[in-house]
Amino acid sequence: MIRIENLVKTFGAKRAVDGVSFAVERGEVLGFLGPNGAGKSTTMRMITGFFPPSAGRISVGGHDVVDSPLEAKRLIGYLPEAAPSYPDMTVAGFLGFAADMRGLDGAARKQALQRVVDLCFLSSVLYQSIDTLSKGYKHRTCLAQALIHDPEVLVLDEPTDGLDPNQKHEVRNLIRELGRTKAVVFSTHILEEVDAACTRAIIIDRGRIVANGTPAELRALSAHAGAVTLHAAGASAEKLAALGHVEPVNGAFRVTPKDKGAAGQLALAVVELARREGWKLDALHTEEGQLDEVFRSLTLPDTVKK
C-alpha cells in the first residue's frame, strides 16, 4: 500500500531524510523507531503530503503523493505528532468537520461518527469544547479524526505519546487490531511497543535506515543474542571457553557463541558439559537479545559525537 523509494528531504544544508526506502503492505504494522530528530516525523509528513520530498518517490495505494495528492490523501488517516485539533470546537463538531471533509454524509456519516466515538472512548466528552479536555482525550479526539473514514492506510506519529499506561495499552491493542486489515505505520521511541503492536520495525538514524526486520530479527542483531547464561556451582570459565566467548556476569557465566548460526545448539552443549563435569546446574537460559541494546548500538554514535 505504501511504497517509498530513495526518499530525501533537505532543510537548507541539513539532510533530514537521506535515501529512505521501504514498503508497507495491507495487514502489516510497521513500527518506526529512532532517536529524536532522526527523521521519523519528516518521513511521515512526506507520506501524508504535508510537504513534498526533495527527491525520491512515494506512492500510496498506487497513487503518487506528489502527482495525484488528493487520491493518495483520501486513502490515508493521519495522526500528526502533537495531535492538533481546533480548541474552540466541541469533540462532536470537530469529528463532524472531519467526516464532512472526507465526503461522508447521511447515514454513513452518522455511523462513522458512532464507530470512532466508541473506538476511542469519547462518548462522555462528545459535547465538550476541546480546549477543556485532558491531554489523553485531546489525543484520542485527533486519533478518532484519523479513523473516521475507515482508511486503508494509517500513519500515526507517536500515537501513545502523553497517554497513561491504561490508555497506551488500549491504543496498542487498537493499532494491532487495525493492522489486520490495513497498512499501518506508526512512530515511537518506546521499544516495548514494537513487541506489543508491530509485525515489522525500522530503525532510522540521522535520516537513514539502519535496521529493518521483524521484532525477532532485530533482537537477533543484539551482541548477546543467542548467548547462554549459566548459574552453576563448580563451573569454570576455562572449560566453557571451548564453546564460545565467556564472561562472568553477577556470579554466573555468559557464553556467547562464536558462530551465530549455531546458537540453537549452544544450550544443549552447555548442559552436556555441565553433566560431564559434575557441575550443580542451578539456572540456565538463552538470551533473545534486547531491543534497547540493539537500538543503542545502532543509534548511539550520534549521541556520543555530540
Partner: protein, 244 residues
C-alpha cells in the same frame, strides 16, 4: 467530494469559529460604534445637508485599515501555531480550496458586519430622498474594499505563526494602498513628480478605485482592480503556504 463541497465545509467551520469565540461580537460592536461615531460626529452627517452616504463611506478605507487585519490575522497564523495546518493540508483538499474557503468565510463575516449598518440607510431615507442606487454601489465598493484588505491579511497571516506580526504587516501594506491615492500625499508628490507618475501611483490605491463606487459608478476597471488585488494576494498566499 467536489471542490465546491470542500470549500463550503472549510468556510462553514471558519464562520462558525468566529461566532463561538468572542471575536465576532467584539468586532461587530466596535465596527458599528466606530462607523456610527465617524459618520455622525466626525463626518458631520447632519451638517452636510446632503441626502447621501458620503460621510459614511468616506471613512471605510480607514476603519477597515485596523479592523479587517484584526479579523483576518488569525486565519493562517493560528493554524500554524496550533499545528492544525498539518491536519488541514493532509485532508483530501487542494491548498487553493482551503485558502478560498477560509477567505470566503471571513469575507462573509465582514459582509454581515457591513449589512448591520443598515440603520444609516434608513436614516438617510427618512431625512431626505437619496439615490439608493448610489448607496447600493457604495456598499458594493465597500465590500470589495474589505475583500482586498482581507486578501492581503490572508497573505501576511500565512507568512507567520505570530498573529501580531501578521496584523502589523497587513496594516502597513493596506496603509500603502490608501496613501498612494490619498490627496495630501498625491498633492505632495505632484510638486516634483510628473503628472503621469502621480497618476500611475494613484492607480494602485484603493481610494482612487473606491471613489467611483461612492459616486454610484460601477466601473469595470475598478472591479477589475479589486478582483486582481484579491486574486493576486490569494495566489501569493498559496505560494507562501507551499514554501513554508
Amino acid at each position: 467530494m467536489t471542490a465546491w463541497h470542500a470549500i463550503r465545509t472549510i468556510a462553514k467551520r471558519e464562520l462558525v469559529a468566529y461566532f463561538t469565540s468572542p471575536v465576532a461580537y467584539v468586532f461587530l460592536v466596535i465596527f458599528l460604534l466606530l462607523t456610527g461615531f465617524l459618520t455622525f460626529t466626525a463626518g458631520a452627517f447632519f451638517e452636510r445637508g446632503e441626502a447621501g452616504l458620503g460621510a459614511f463611506f468616506g471613512w471605510h478605507p480607514w476603519v477597515y485599515l485596523v479592523l479587517v487585519p484584526a479579523i483576518g490575522m488569525r486565519l493562517w497564523a493560528e493554524e500554524r501555531r496550533a499545528g492544525t495546518l498539518e491536519l488541514l493540508l493532509t485532508l483530501p483538499v487542494a491548498a487553493w480550496q482551503a485558502i478560498l474557503g477560509k477567505f470566503l468565510a471571513s469575507w462573509a463575516f465582514l459582509g454581515i458586519a457591513l449589512a448591520l449598518t443598515f440603520p444609516v440607510v434608513i436614516t438617510v431615507n427618512v431625512l431626505g430622498a437619496p439615490d439608493n442606487g448610489q448607496i447600493l454601489a457604495g456598499y458594493l465598493g465597500s465590500l470589495f474594499l474589505a475583500g482586498a484588505y482581507l486578501a492581503i491579511t490572508c497573505m501576511t497571516s500565512a507568512m507567520t505563526r505570530n498573529q501580531v506580526i501578521a496584523f502589523i504587516l497587513s496594516v502597513v501594506m493596506c496603509l500603502f494602498l490608501i496613501l498612494a491615492g490619498f490627496s495630501p500625499v498625491t498633492d505632495l508628490m505632484a510638486r516634483w513628480a510628473s503628472p503621469a507618475l502621480v497618476d500611475t501611483v494613484a492607480a494602485f490605491s484603493v481610494v482612487t478605485h473606491f471613489d467611483g463606487f461612492q459616486k454610484g459608478v460601477i466601473d469595470s476597471r475598478d472591479l477589475f482592480y479589486f478582483l486582481s488585488v484579491i486574486g493576486f494576494s490569494l495566489f501569493a498566499t498559496s505560494v507562501v503556504l507551499r514554501n513554508r
